[in-house]
Amino acid sequence: MEIDLTLDELDPAGAICEAHENVHRDSRATFLRKATVGGAALVGALSVVPAGGSQSANDVDILNYALTLEYLQASFYTEAKRVRALRGKAREAAEVVGAVERAHVQALRSALGSAAVARPTFNFAGVTKDQRQFLKTAVAFEDLAVGAYKAQAPRIRSKPILAVAVSIHSVEARHAAWMRRLFGIVPAASAFDDPVSKPEATRIVASTGFITSSGKTEREAEPRFTG
């Protein structure tokens, strides 16, 4: 069985959760607004300046783009572990892969320093609470990461940064194979993988509604508590 999985095919609504129904029922204007929020988080990664002299602006942009994708993955697996809805091999895989994705985040943030983009707010809308939906989403995320790294690698100017990117890329490919196996589809069905361009990755992630704007929980005011 081979399924051409992309994130925009996900339908976490169904029997799982109403939240995604809302995403799919949104008016076009609302959808585009949400897509813009998600897209802005990714596009934001393209507007930073180099942190120091050792990294070119081009490579900083690519690292920030990678960081945003790693935020997405790390948050996904972290939530899956914390809501404790997975079982068996899926739970084990989520734990191992999540720990690795968090390491990727830590490494990229450290490398970028003050130039690192902030973590967006993610609303996985119940997908982490259902084993089947979790695995389907994990396959899509890992395939996306593999394709995105593949697309950016030839654009990286610094060989040492390319060395890091390639080392992450192969790990993401292992994750993709692992999740595909658990989901019940062929881990490596193609002789050659296609890269996923940044606009395409942005479109795919934005279409899920997983990247959301967070409501403000802080403001300046005269408090009116009981005192």
Binding site: G14, A15, I16, C17, E18, A19, E21, N22, S54, Q55, T78, E79, K81, R82, V83, R84, V96, G98, A99, V100, R102, A103, H104, Q106, A107, S110, A111, T121, F122, N123, F124, A125, G126, K129, S158, K159, P160, I161, L162, A163, V164, S167, I168, T212, S214, G215, K216, T217, E218, R219, E220, A221, E222, P223, R224, F225, T226, G227
Partner: protein
């Protein structure tokens, strides 16, 4: 008649032996030439590039016993006493707090109804104290996690913040006078207000706790954790139910305690 086959066999044996010798010589020559090639520096492949930075070891999550989850309310919704749409409403959740920040709830549990829709058990910022109820997952936003917990000791007149179970902050406090007692139970921090009033000090945290006696207080009598312009009164039973700290303490707490932190008042 018998001599011809013997001679033929002998010739064949000699030919086979010669072929084996030639083959062996060829193998030895080829092996020798490749060994020489591999050792020649001008045809060796370059060493791998050193990575620009190291990827650390996989990052395990902390002890889940110390993790609490909260979400913003993205859709005004009734809170029900069971995880189904026809259950009794027991409270109402708005998307905004009285302080006009995003309303948040502490997540306690989850369940699916018969249709498979996901429901979340949340701690409700309403009276009576310690009220919990069910809302559709669709009414909530992103899941956020904290690893902190504030414990307010009304007898000891102090507050302790724990992070991953370890105390990281402690301060003397002022609490409600006997006529306006500070409510006890399980609550959470739901807003952070940079105060414009010296009475509340420089910073105030809004909590889900409400005074059971000051219900006509502006905005409903929610209990805050804040600074003060009368530090000499601390520690003591001096407030209308709020938890007061010296300004230096509330500012320190402000660096350590995120919104969503569970608050135990006992």
């Amino acid at each position: 008649m018998t001599a011809r086959p013997r001679r033929g066999s002998l010739i064949a044996s000699v030919v086979v032996a010669l072929l084996l010798i030639v083959s062996a010589l060829l193998v030895v020559r080829l092996a020798g030439s490749s060994a020489v090639s591999a050792s020649e520096p001008d045809v060796a492949l370059p060493a791998p590039a050193s990575p620009a930075f190291a990827i650390p070891d996989p990052q395990a999550l902390g002890d889940p016993r110390h993790v609490a989850r909260w979400s913003t309310v993205t859709r005004a919704v009734p809170v029900r006493d069971a995880p189904r749409a026809d259950a009794n409403p027991i409270a109402f959740l708005d998307t905004r707090t009285p302080e006009r920040t995003a309303n948040v709830v502490l997540v306690e549990d989850r369940a699916a109804d018969r249709a498979g829709r996901l429901w979340i058990l949340v701690r409700v910022p309403a009276l009576p104290e310690n009220l919990t109820g069910w809302v559709p997952r669709a009414a909530l936003g992103a899941s956020e996690f904290v690893r902190t917990r504030l414990v307010v000791d009304l007898k000891g007149l102090d507050a302790t913040l724990r992070s991953d179970g370890r105390p990281v902050f402690r301060a003397e406090i002022g609490i409600g006078k006997p006529a306006w007692p500070t409510p006890t139970g399980e609550f959470y921090v739901r807003s952070r207000i940079r105060s414009l009033s010296s009475f509340y000090g420089p910073l105030a945290f809004g909590t889900s706790a409400r005074s059971a006696v000051l219900t006509d207080w502006p905005d409903g009598g929610f209990v805050g954790i804040h600074g003060t312009n009368a530090p000499d009164l601390l520690p003591g039973r001096v407030s209308h139910g709020c938890i007061r700290m010296r300004n230096v303490d509330i500012l320190r707490l402000g660096r350590l305690m995120p919104v969503g932190t569970p608050v135990t008042i006992r």
